[in-house]
Structure formats: C-alpha cells, structure tokens
C-alpha cells in the first residue's frame, strides 16, 4: 500500500549501516507494512466489489443505481426516520453505557459483579431474540409489562412498535459497546484529575461534565461514531418493530433492493456509499478531536491510586437504580427467553402453563447433530477473529496515532470501511475472490475467519485507537531512550498499557461474532456451520422455543467465556483496581 511505502518510515537510519542495509526494511517497517497491507486488502476487496457493482453496469459507468436508490418520493421520510432512530439509539446507548461504566469503575456502587454482567448481557442475546422478548414484554396487545401496569395506567401503556420503542430496544441492545469502550477509558484515568476539580469547589455533576467527560472524549466520539453507523445499519429492530406500523428506515430500503431478483446491487451499493461517506467524515472528525492535543493522555508515567468515589447517601439510591436497570434490561428479557425455552409454544404465563413446562427443547438441542460442531466452530472463529483483529489493530492504532507517516489516516479510514458494507455484499465479494484464488480457502472455515476479521476490524480499530490516545507518549519515549527497539517497546510497554482497551474489544468481537449471520450464511459450507446459522434455521422454522433454549445456552457460554477473559486479563493488564 502506498501509505506504508512512504519514505518517512525509514527515518531511523543507523549510522554505521552499510549502503545496502538502508534498503532492507527494519522490523518496524516490515510489521507496519504488513499490517497496513492486510487492512488495505481486507477493506478494499469488498469495497471494490461494492463500488464496482454500484457504478458499473453492462454499459459501463452509470449512476442509475443512485437514481433508483434515492429517486423515491419516500426517501426523505426514510432518511428522516433513520436519522431520528439512529440519533435516538446512539444518545440512549451513550448515556446508559457511559453512566454504567462510570458508576462501575469510578464509584463504590454496590453489586459490581452483577452490574458488569448486566451491562454486557444485552450484547450476547441475539438481536432477533432480544427484539422479540421486548415485543412480548411491551407490545400494547400482549406485553407482560403492559398487563402488569394495566390496573394502574390502563391498557397499552407502553408501545414498543413506535419509533420510541425502537430507540429503546436498539439503544439498550447497543449500550454494551459504549459500556466496554468507556470502562476501558475510565479505568485508565487518573482520579486525581477529578479530585482536583472537586477540591476546586465543583459539584460532582460539574466534575463529571467538565472534567470526566472531556477527558473521555476520544472514547465518547468513538462510541457515537460506532453507534450511529450501527443503528443506521440495524435491521432486526426496524424490521420487527418498525414495519408493523409502517416506520421504514434506510436498511429496510437496502433490504428491499437486495431482496428481489436480480438483486439490485447498484441501488444497494448507492445506499451503502451514502453510509460510507457519512462514516468517513465521522472517522476524520473523530481523529481531529482525538489529535487536538495531548489532553487525553490520561495514562501518564505518574502513578495514581484509583480510589473509588464514595457515593455516600446516594449509594443505596444508585444501588436500587442498578437493580431496577438490571431487572428491566437483563432479567426481564432473559426470563422471557428462559420461560419461552421451557414451553412448547409461546403463551402468556398462567398457572396452567407452569405445569406443562418441559425441558424438551433442551433435549432437542442436544440431539441436534450440528449443534456441537456449530458451537465448536463458533468458538474457533470467535476467539480466532477476536484475537487476530485486536492484535492487528493494536499495531494499526500505533501506526495511526503515533507514527508520523504521511497518509496514516487512510489506514484508519480503510479499517472503518467494512462497517458500512452490507453483510451479503461482503459474502459475495469474498466468495468472488476466493473462488478464483489458487489457495483453497473457499469452502473452509478460513473464509469465514476472513469474513469475520473484515467485519469486526472497524470495532477493533476504534477500541485500540481510543486506548492509544490515552497513553502518554512519554511512556513510549522513555522505553525507547532506555534502549528498547520499537518492537520491544510495543510488546513490553504499549500492549500491556493498551490491555484494558484490547480486552474490551476482544470481548466485544467474541460476543458479536457468535451472532454474525449475513455473510456467514453465504460462505459456510457443510461441516462449517456456526451457531448463528443454527439460530437462523430455528428462526425460519418458527421454532421459537428451541431458539430460546439455544439463546439461553449461548448467553451462558459467553458469560463464562467473558468471565474467564476478564480474570486472565486482570493479570496481564494494568493492575490498578486492586
């Protein structure tokens, strides 16, 4: 890639080097080059495929796709709905995720462990199930919550089939992404920065607003960026909640143009290009914000002892709030899931229903021949892609944040590209390439691994870049002056300091990779099934009860994995909380 070939990389010319040595790449250059190339390759293949499909047809260059995509009387309403929905969900998830992360990391809030689980679980529950459990909870017709409050407020108090309902469900479902990002940010923030503000006479709220939030700005910007693009792209919630009352959004449109035969790639591409432009502007903006000074380097070489802020009399109030949140966002959907998984078909709970409950669905799950293979494959792919992506993105983040190579921003933007590429297009692009590749990757688990790495690269990059912004450059320079080579510095100083962010990204990727469907379904082959495909099959069969059982198993598996990861991570990374 041109970005890595820039001569500026080679600034470190060893004095004694022979003439030929200068032409040999240093390990640093080599590593950066490889990472840059891999990112470029992963991003450009589907992008090229997308752009080609968008701008070229049988007669050459054409923008007819744009006309078909945007030349619709309803497009403004669509865009309006989408933006409203995306902004709402982003704000909700940001507020909820940030507040939870702050309380969890920086205060002596009770039930911390429970709390941590509560904050991640919504991520683990597959989108379809999460949305459906909310229908079962808050539909005006059959919602359990509505039934519960009916004597007080009358029927149909909550209506999940409105734009507000959509924002609520999507916002809660996305909030773990923010939570993970913010936890990493808050963990590496010196509390004395806040304490000094407190001593200056500011109230807690002012401190939070004027000190904490500005210091966490890179993480907040990254969150907003991901949230907005994610909600613009979200399909399950608009499809299950929005369509019922005719609330159409951007993705509904992409869905419609891809659904028919021949699929209108030009129009879908044109819509994706719109998203792409939005996203690139977003990345550029977030980099400007992130770069504007060293103010965000909260991990400095001066030690700090994080003392959790004492909530005092508010402790019990906040504690109650957390229990309430936990019940609302985790227990309720999970209970619905668990409840459904014990039934033969969904029905509102009565005494009679409890008598007929059965473990039949779990038995069916065990009997499913593919379930074990799928679980194994999902584990391999999830752990593999999470590890690969975070390893590469750690280096890429250094490249983008610390190196002075011209054009390094392009790497950042490239890494963001896959976020806007529809899963189906990614699947097609990869199958197109690897069907023609001399290396037999098509039809193996590897092609899924490549797909997952591509899809989750943007998240990994955001997590890594955000953490990198927080690390004071002096920590790196001091290692360098101490005689450490670039690679030694990277391995022994940067990676451990990035650990909280890398771990958060790793957990996120692991968890969401279990749900990846849209490109998996096109790329898997017999024997390479993954869990999400099983879920999809159960879903298509209308086997909601078995599906719920599968969901319960998935949630338990991932909670176990995530706990192990954090236990291990605590040993590797910054040991600050103890």
């Amino acid at each position: 890639m041109m970005t890595t070939a820039s001569p500026a990389v080679g600034t470190d010319t060893v004095a004694a080097s022979a003439w030929w040595r200068r032409w040999l790449p240093t390990p640093k250059m080599l590593i950066l080059g490889v990472v840059g190339l891999v990112i470029g390759y992963l991003a450009l293949v589907p992008l090229y495929y997308l752009l080609w499909g968008t701008f070229f047809d049988a007669d050459g260059v054409s923008v007819a796709g744009f006309e078909r995509a945007y030349g619709n009387s309803q497009i403004f309403e669509l865009i309006g709905n989408s933006l409203w929905f995306a902004a709402g969900a982003a704000v909700l998830s940001l507020v909820v995720g940030t507040a939870l992360a702050y309380l969890n990391v920086r205060t002596d809030v009770p039930f911390k462990a429970l709390f941590f689980a509560a904050s991640i679980v919504p991520l683990i529950i597959p989108g379809i199930l999460y949305t459906i459990s909310w229908i079962l909870l808050a539909s005006p017709e059959i919602g359990l919550v509505n039934k519960l409050v009916e004597p007080v407020f009358g029927s149909g108090t909550f209506d999940v089939f409105t734009i507000w309902g959509m924002i609520w469900v999507e916002g809660l479902h996305l909030s773990p992404i923010v939570f993970l990002l913010m936890v990493a940010a808050f963990r590496s923030m010196d509390p004395s920065l806040e304490e000094s503000a407190l001593m200056s006479g500011a109230t807690r709220w002012q401190v939070f607003r004027k000190v904490t939030v500005p210091l966490a700005r890179p993480a907040i910007v990254a969150s907003i960026l991901i949230m907005v693009v994610r909600s613009l792209e979200s399909f399950e919630v608009p499809a299950l909640l929005g369509l019922q009352n005719g609330i159409y959004v951007f993705t509904s449109r992409i869905y419609f143009v891809l659904r028919s035969y021949p699929p209108d790639f030009a129009a879908a591409g044109a819509l994706a290009v719109g998203l792409l432009i939005l996203a690139i502007i977003g990345v550029a903006l977030s980099n400007i914000v992130g770069r504007s000074g060293k103010n965000y380097q909260t991990v400095t070489g001066k030690g700090f002892r994080p003392r959790p802020m004492e909530l005092g009399k508010w402790r019990s109030v906040v504690g109650a709030g957390i229990i309430l949140y936990f019940i609302l966002t985790v227990i309720a959907p999970l209970v619905v899931l668990l409840y459904t998984s014990l039934l033969k078909y969904y029905t509102a709970p009565t005494l009679n229903v409890f008598k007929t409950m059965t473990l039949e669905n779990y038995r069916e799950l065990i009997g499913m021949s593919k379930a074990v293979t799928a679980l194994r494959n999902s584990l391999i792919l999830g752990i593999g892609s999470a590890t690969l992506v975070m390893a590469f993105m750690a280096i890429a983040a250094w490249f983008v944040v610390r190196s002075r190579v011209r054009g390094r921003q392009v790497v950042d933007q490239l890494a963001f590209v896959p976020l806007v590429i529809p899963g189906l297009v990614l699947g097609l692009a990869l199958s197109f390439v690897y069907l023609r590749s001399p290396i037999p990757i098509y039809g193996t688990l590897f092609i899924l691994l490549i797909a997952y790495c591509t899809r989750y690269m943007p998240y990994g990059m955001r997590y890594a870049v955000t953490s990198m912004h927080q690390i004071s450059s002096e920590l790196e320079e001091s290692a360098h002056v101490s005689g450490a080579s670039w690679w030694q510095t990277f391995r022994r100083v940067i990676v451990p300091l990035l650990a909280p962010g890398l771990l958060a990204g790793w957990v996120y990727i692991l968890v969401v990779s279990f749900r990846e469907l849209s490109s998996s379904i096109l790329l898997y082959s017999p024997g390479n099934e993954v869990l999400s495909i099983l879920i999809f099959e159960q879903f298509e069969d209308g086997e909601f009860t078995v599906l719920s059982a599968l969901g319960v198993v998935m949630v338990l598996t991932l909670i176990l994995l995530v706990s192990i990861a954090y236990k291990l991570g605590a040993k590797v990374g910054l040991n600050r909380t103890n």
Binding site: T11, F304, S478, V481, G483, S485, P496
Partner: protein
C-alpha cells in the same frame, strides 16, 4: 564531551505565529524555528542546564540529543561518536534513540504503570542487545544497587504507581542511570513536585550527579533550580541561545534584558551613556546620574538599560555623604518574606524593588535613600 553545533529544528507553523526570520515570503510554508542555530559544549562530569521559559526550545534541544526529535540540520556528537549530522555533502547520520545509550528522566517520569519498581529499573538492561546483555543475576544485582543508592530498595516489588511523588522521581532517575550512561538527560524532573520536596530533591539530585559523576544536560524553566544545580547555564529564548556561562556570571552580568529579567528579579532603569573612562561609565537617567563599572564597549550617546538586583541595593533613612549613586525616594509598600523584607521604593517615575535584611523594615510613606554600588550595576544594551 557533548558537542552541539548549529542545531536547527523547525515545525510547520500552519497555526500560530509566522516565522520571525521569514522575510515576508508569503509563498513558502511558514515555519517556526523551535531551535535556531544552537551550539554549545558540555564538559565531562558537568551538569549543564538549558534554562528558559516554556516554548523557548530547550526541550526540543534535549529531545534532539535524545534522538526523539529529528533536527533539520546541525551536528550532535558525544565524545568521538556522532549521533546526528546533516552537513551538506556528507552522509547524514541519525542514530536512533534506542541505540544512543543515554539515560533520560522525563517530566512526567514516564514510569511504566504496569510494572513493578524492580522491573521498571531492570527494563533498560533487559532490552540490551543479546551480546551485551548482562545475565539475570547481574541484572538483579545492578538494579538493586541502583535502588539502594536511590533509597528505593525496600519498594522493589511494589507496583510503580504506588510510590509517592518523590519516590517516583527517584525511580525515574534510577531507571535512567542503571545502564551507567555516558550522558544523562533530565527534562524538568522536579516540576511535578511540591515546593518543599522540590528543594530537598534538588540537593539530592546534585549530590547524586556528583557521586555518579555522570555528565548531564538538565532542562528547566526554574532559575533557582538552574542556579543551584548547574555547573554551566545556557539561557534560551525563542529558539536561540542568548547567554551561556557559570551561574554566578549569568546572574550578575546578564548580557541582555531578557536574561536579566528571566533570572532572578531585576530593577531596570533606562538612560543614555554620557561618558566613560575605561570601565567606569556614566549614565544619565530621568531620575539622576548613575556611575557604574562595565566591561562593555559602548560609545557615548548609546541608549541603555541599567539593571540591578533587589538584594544589591542598600536602603537607609539617612543620607550617607560621599557615596555614589545615592537616590532619594519614598517607601510605597513592604512585604515580610521571612528571611528578608522587600520594599518597593518610588523614585521619580520608577518603582524599584529592594530586598533588605530582616532587621531593616521601613514603614510605607517614609522618605528614604537608596544606594546602588557601581560594581553591582550592569549595563544592558537596548536590544
């Protein structure tokens, strides 16, 4: 020992100020000279201080020596070893920071928060090239030896972040000297400490530097620190070196107003040279005539500024006949500082600060006489 010649470092100045030296050439990219043609030499075992206000280029100079910044031009050599060179026509040299074998203490200490005290200090030894790297046991011995010197041995297994400010500062120093570098670089190492600690560590630092005998380059904006520690001071302003010399010389004979102003407190009285006889000058000012000694060569009629330190003036309520440079004035305010008393004296339009022995304290409003010994006045050219 360390020799710097004609060091130049510019930054692209797209934002703030335009180049001072640029002659209005609007087409060329505006550049800010962070370091503009700086040369100096540091002798073996010396503690050389780069002193100046923030933004004067002292840190950039230090970072250029460390190899953390790449200068645009110049020559940096440590004894016989060239660290950086960009003479036209010659092969450019830029030894990477990690091959220079120097020790450096950063302003923020840059202690790695994920490592223990021991590991922080051991790191520079552990990352040495395989051929030079000492064995595990030797590393351990050397680290403990340094930690003992720094009185940190009992904290070896603690997490570095759990040390107090002063301990962290010593840890940073320990890490910098563990490889016994030929040159130690210190970037405002005391600026993060409270006043009391700063003072005690200042002497500690001086003692250690002497004991270890390491040639050091010290960067600070604190003139007291500079005066107390250094064998030699170089004052920098706007990227240029404005005066260099032993602390006493720089303090007593500032070569220009900037230095006089920056180092210590000075009173300035402007006037015109009206005559001179050898080194004895006569300067006419608005408030009277001043006699002073100066080695400077200034023709009659030159506009000058006369500077005098507050503690160099004498104050009394009585006129002392037969003494030169005796002016009358009025006490405007006074302040008790413990070890001294500051008076502000109004003389004509001037307000002069005089520092007196605590036994002398004159109430505001009193008429007084001010005496300025000719050998304590220095002549500073205007610009």
């Amino acid at each position: 020992m360390l020799r710097i010649d004609n060091l130049v470092k510019t930054f692209a100045g797209e934002r703030r100020k335009r180049s001072r030296n640029g002659n209005g050439d609007a087409k060329g990219p505006a550049k800010i000279f962070a370091v503009n043609d700086v040369s100096f030499e540091v002798g073996e075992g010396e503690l050389f201080t780069l002193l100046g206000p923030s933004g004067c280029g002292k840190t950039t100079t230090l970072r250029s020596i460390a190899g953390l910044e790449r200068p645009d031009a110049g020559h940096i050599a440590l004894t016989e070893r060239v660290l950086f060179s960009s003479k036209p026509g010659e092969k450019p040299v830029n030894v990477p920071a990690n091959s220079r074998g120097l020790g450096m203490v950063f302003q923020s200490y840059a202690i790695w928060p994920h490592m223990t005290v021991f590991n922080n200090v051991a790191f520079p030894l552990q990352v040495m090239k395989r051929a030079e790297r000492p064995g595990k046991r030797e590393i351990s011995e050397r680290v403990m030896r340094v930690l003992e010197t720094m009185e940190l041995a009992s904290f070896a297994d603690r997490h570095a972040t759990k040390l107090s400010g002063g301990q962290q500062q010593r840890l940073a120093l320990a890490r910098a000297v563990v490889i016994e570098p030929s040159l130690l670089l210190l970037d405002e190492p005391l600026s993060n400490l409270d006043a009391k600690l700063r003072e005690s560590l200042r002497y500690e630092l001086k003692r250690l530097q002497r004991e270890l005998g390491i040639t050091s380059v010290y960067v600070t904006h604190d003139q007291i620190e500079a005066l107390a520690l250094s064998s030699k001071i170089a004052v920098m302003s706007d990227g240029s070196l404005v005066q260099m010399g032993r602390p006493r010389d720089v303090y007593q004979n500032p070569s220009n107003k900037f230095v006089a102003e920056f180092i210590g407190t000075s009173n300035f009285i402007s006037g015109v040279v009206s005559g001179h006889n050898g080194e004895r000058y006569t300067v006419e000012t608005n408030d009277g005539r001043l006699l002073l000694d100066s080695a400077a060569d200034m023709p009659d009629g030159t506009e000058v500024v006369v500077s005098i330190r507050p503690e160099s003036m004498e104050l009394s309520e009585q006129h002392r006949p037969g003494q030169p440079n005796q002016w009358s004035g009025n006490v405007l305010t006074r302040a008790f500082l413990g070890d001294s008393v500051d008076h502000v004296i109004g003389v004509g339009k001037h307000e002069l600060r005089v520092r007196c022995n605590p036994s002398i304290s004159i109430a505001p409003g009193t008429d007084v006489y001010l005496r300025m010994p000719p050998d304590r006045l220095s002549l500073v050219p205007v610009n």
